[in-house]
């Protein structure tokens, strides 16, 4: 193991048959749950003090979310785990789902004990058939062992957990679209407010977190807030699973402390491939901005990413080699979002195909300077007027190229002149 790696969430990842509840218990699992059932308020305090932030993209403090749902006075509350991991270049949830399913169940149970929920859903991406199978077994095991169902471990707490799976829609990874999908409707983003914490699934208060966030919960309860805060940075405590892809020698998923520099992560992944140079780095998945390699020494966490105008997202790093054409890459990415848009609002449904047409025109070398200006203008219009984050995020890479690599479009112009 490399020094810069940290095994916290993945500490049980080497376990054989992680779906068996006794294996997880032997490794010390489900002990945090007992603590949480015995004293939910103390557990809430630990999560608040630990400063855990959501791992799905926005980085909203988990404790505040819990507090909000816990204070709602409602007969029925829900816990939902978002395992609809669809972001291009992300694979960390798949690892957690298949390697430590019981840690996720335990995390959800602790959350249920704290906010007072009786029912939970885990929404696993339809393409993750293996994860669905493992998780189904894990849920069955947990029911048999009395960790799910009525009177959990002899306490008065009851919690039912149901597995749902998507049918291949990227948009259902957005929390409110996911709720719509669970309710059996077309997966389209709801307007906020009201937030799911107040009015979520079937209009009941719903606590919804990403897989990785739930996986953090048992660790935090186990080690305590102070010990947890020693890992990572002041604003972003804890570790992060980083999916590394692109022109590196060993692409994969690495667990590092928050705030580890991008260069360290690159080294962890075996460095840049031979005979290649890093042209740019896309952070935060397919909709993230592309930054220059000069920023390699930036610590990788939410605050520092915001500072340099990058997107932390689910913590992905794609190293783009110098053989890649950025315009082509952009076209490809926007093509993905064009397909995955729900089609409700005009900027997304009509604007994205138009952007692609313009990009293809630029790529074919038939463009003028005017076209590039129009492209930027249209991208900006989409960003400002789209109904949900998908539309505005889709043009993110394009706008970041415009800002960080202004020479790219100029080069296309030059090529055209050369050809003439």
């Amino acid at each position: 193991m490399n020094d810069s790696e940290m095994k916290l969430l993945t500490r049980h990842a080497t376990m054989d048959h992680p779906e068996y509840v006794h294996n997880y218990c032997d490794a010390g699992g489900y002990q945090s749950l007992e603590k949480a059932i015995a004293d939910p308020d103390a557990s809430l305090q630990i999560i608040l003090n630990a400063g855990l932030r959501g791992r799905s993209g926005s980085g909203f403090p988990a404790g505040i979310k819990w507090n909000m749902t816990a204070q709602e006075n409602a007969a029925v509350k829900y816990i939902v785990c978002n395992a609809d991991e669809g972001e291009p270049g992300t694979g960390k949830d798949h690892l957690l789902l298949t390697k430590t399913p019981h840690a996720i169940i335990e995390g959800m149970l602790i959350a249920a004990a704290v906010v007072g929920a009786q029912k939970g859903y885990i929404y696993i991406r339809g393409e993750y058939q293996d994860a669905i199978e493992i998780f189904e077994k894990a849920i069955k095991e947990a029911y048999a062992a009395g960790f799910l169902g009525k009177n959990i471990q002899g306490s008065s707490m009851s919690f039912e957990l149901e597995l749902r799976s998507g049918a291949g829609s990227y948009l259902c990874g957005e929390e409110t679209a996911l709720l719509e999908s669970i309710e059996g409707r077309r997966g389209e983003v709801r307007l906020k407010p009201p937030y799911p914490g107040v009015k979520g699934l079937w209009n009941c208060p719903t606590l919804i977190h990403n897989v990785e966030t739930f996986a953090n919960i048992p660790c935090i309860i186990e080690m305590g807030a102070e010990a947890y805060r020693l890992i990572g940075t002041k604003e972003c405590p804890g570790t992060k699973l980083v999916t590394v892809s692109g022109c590196v020698n060993a692409p994969g998923i690495y667990e590092v402390a928050m705030g580890t520099t991008i260069r360290t992560i690159l080294e962890l992944a075996g460095g840049c491939q031979e005979e290649k140079q890093i042209l740019g780095i896309q952070t935060g998945g397919g909709s993230g901005s592309i930054i220059r390699p000069a920023l390699l020494d930036t610590p990788f966490d939410i605050e520092h990413c915001n500072e340099i105008g990058a997107f932390f997202g689910a913590g992905d790093l794609m190293f783009i080699g110098n053989e890649i054409d950025l315009v082509d890459l952009c076209d490809n990415m926007i093509g993905f979002f064009e397909e995955e848009s729900c089609g409700r609002c005009i900027p997304c449904r009509v604007g994205l195909p138009r952007i692609r047409k313009m990009l293809q025109k630029i790529e074919s070398g038939k463009s003028s300077e005017d076209d590039v200006l129009q492209l930027y203008q249209l991208a900006d219009e989409i960003k400002q007027t789209a109904r949900c984050a998908l539309g505005s995020a889709a043009v993110g890479p394009l706008l970041s190229i415009a800002q960080n690599f202004p020479e790219v479009f100029r080069e296309k112009e030059m090529q055209k002149v050369g050809e003439l």
Partner: protein, 502 residues
């Protein structure tokens, strides 16, 4: 409720919370362009035309609630630029053949395009006219659909049917009627309310007026059956008074070349008599509450979705179809013609008549069912003169039915009046009841028993009522009409802008 303070275009205003930003801004007398919004029914934020700047952020005003401390700007240069860009994008996806469009000039998209100075542009995806068969009464042209989702909302929220939905995602997302896929099995009841909601020409009734016009030009024996509601709809469109409407419409029909015009209330009277006999029998035998079935949409809904209510409805021929039968027989006799040489054309406010005329029990009674809008188009096309259609309308002198009903012309509700006269009470205005949307009821004492009859319009309210048997038991007779507000709001109306109700 506590007052809140907001800034609107740099002006401080004290107001009450609870409404949307759009409502607030409009109340303050400032216009914001809207396209997909349809009053309370459709508020989905699809068109992005009503964007405003709230605290420095661009948001749609229709979907944002007004809260304290908001700083709203509605008219900056940037907003106008963004709105224009959005409108351009909508037009890229809309086949603009305005001059031959059914909806012109009352197209909301066209009106906005004029305002923002957007001319025809290259249609982006394909120029194929994507016509879909949506039933006997209407077609959908998805190359003109801007996916505002009004039709979806109207079908779901106003009528409670749910026969229209969104299919596919991304650029392939489209609105489809279930009829296209499931045919007669679809829950669509042919009420056509979606047509009235469409802001563009994507939804249209199936046009049959041209073949009628051709037959008239060939001097064939055509007779018309006119419902007074259609005449009123025409008068409302022209903005003239309702009293002269029927007479003028009859004159127009004569001018178009119809040999005779029959009053549709001939059939209503007959049907009302049959209802009356049935109701009298039920009152004596304490039978089940009777639901009227002279509205073809309601009849389809009841037969398809509520088979358990079979005993509540009686199979009586629909009034318009009855009149058509009567008209054919009588006209043939009086003119010494073979009845097959005569074509009977009905003119009503209803799109569902196009469906009803093809039902087995009605086969061959009506040759063509026209809507008010089609009659208008016929007047436009075949009464060619140097004047506009409005001028023609104004010039028309009132004429009377060639075959009128015995019924008092001032009273429009023949069937209810008949039911009321059974209760030995003078026909009177019904009292308002709030429990169900669009329901009115009246109470009588009949042979020392208190009994009620009710009239409900709009299928959502009706379905709510049908699902609560206890409430239903309160009545002896329920007149049910599919279109909200009754036949006067039938989808066959000549449209100005969508969403206006008579």
């Amino acid at each position: 409720m506590d007052n809140i303070t907001v800034m609107l275009n740099h002006k401080v205003i004290k107001t009450e919370p609870g409404c949307s930003v759009l409502e607030f801004v409009q109340k303050e007398g400032i216009a914001i362009p809207t396209l997909c919004k349809l009053s309370e029914i459709n508020c989905v934020g699809a068109c992005r035309m009503c964007i405003v700047n709230i605290n420095g952020k661009i948001m749609t005003s229709c979907t944002t609630r007004l809260t304290d401390g908001m700083n709203i700007e509605t008219d900056t240069q940037e907003l106008e630029q963004l709105r224009k860009a959005n409108l351009e994008m909508i037009c890229y996806n809309h086949r603009q053949d305005c001059s031959s469009c059914d909806r012109f000039p009352y197209c909301e998209l066209h009106t906005l395009c004029r305002r923002y100075g957007i001319d025809d542009r290259n249609y982006m995806f394909s120029r194929v006219e994507e016509f879909r068969d949506c039933g006997p009464h209407m077609i959908r042209d998805n190359s003109k659909c801007i996916q505002c989702r009004r039709c979806v909302s109207v079908c779901n929220k106003v009528q409670g049917i749910g026969a229209i939905g969104i299919f596919g995602k991304g650029t392939k997302a489209r609105v489809e009627n279930l009829y296209t896929k499931f045919g007669d099995q679809s829950p669509c009841v042919n009420c056509g309310q979606c047509i009235t909601a469409c802001p563009t020409g994507a939804l249209m009734e199936k046009n049959e007026f041209e073949k009628v016009g051709v037959a008239l030009a060939q001097k064939k024996e055509l007779i018309a059956v006119l419902t007074p509601t259609a005449a009123i709809q025409l008068a409302a469109y022209f903005g003239t008074d309702k009293k002269s409407a029927t007479g003028k419409t009859i004159a127009a029909l004569h001018r178009l070349g119809f040999r005779a015009v029959f009053d549709s209330r001939i059939g209503e009277e007959e049907v009302a008599k049959q209802y009356r006999t049935e109701l009298e029998y039920r009152l004596k035998s304490n039978g089940k509450v009777m639901i009227s079935t002279h509205c073809p949409s309601t009849e389809k809904l009841l037969k398809q979705q509520y088979p358990n209510l079979k005993e509540n409805i009686i199979s009586i021929q629909e009034p318009l179809q009855y009149t058509a039968k009567y008209a054919r027989e009588n006209y043939a006799k009086s003119q010494n013609l073979d009845s097959s040489a005569i074509q009977v054309i009905t003119i009503s406010s209803c799109t569902a008549e196009k469906y009803a005329q093809n039902l087995t029990e009605n086969k061959g009674l009506v040759d063509v069912s026209l809507t008010t809008h089609e009659l208008y188009q016929m007047m436009e096309k075949f009464c060619v003169s140097s004047f506009s259609t409005l001028e023609i309308w104004k010039q028309l002198e009132e004429e009377s039915f060639d075959y009128a009903a015995a019924f008092d012309v001032d009273n429009e509700d023949v069937i209810l009046s008949e039911m009321m006269s059974l209760m030995k009470a003078a026909p009177q205005k019904l009292g308002i009841k709030n429990r169900y949307e669009q329901m009115i009821e009246t109470e009588y004492s009949y042979q020392n028993k208190k009994i009620k009859i009710g009239k409900i319009s709009g299928l959502k309210g009706l379905q709510q009522l049908l699902k609560s048997p206890d409430d239903m038991k309160e009545y002896v007779f329920i007149e049910a009409l599919a279109c909200p507000g009754g036949c006067i709001n039938g989808a066959g109306k000549t449209r100005k802008f969508s969403g206006d109700r008579l």
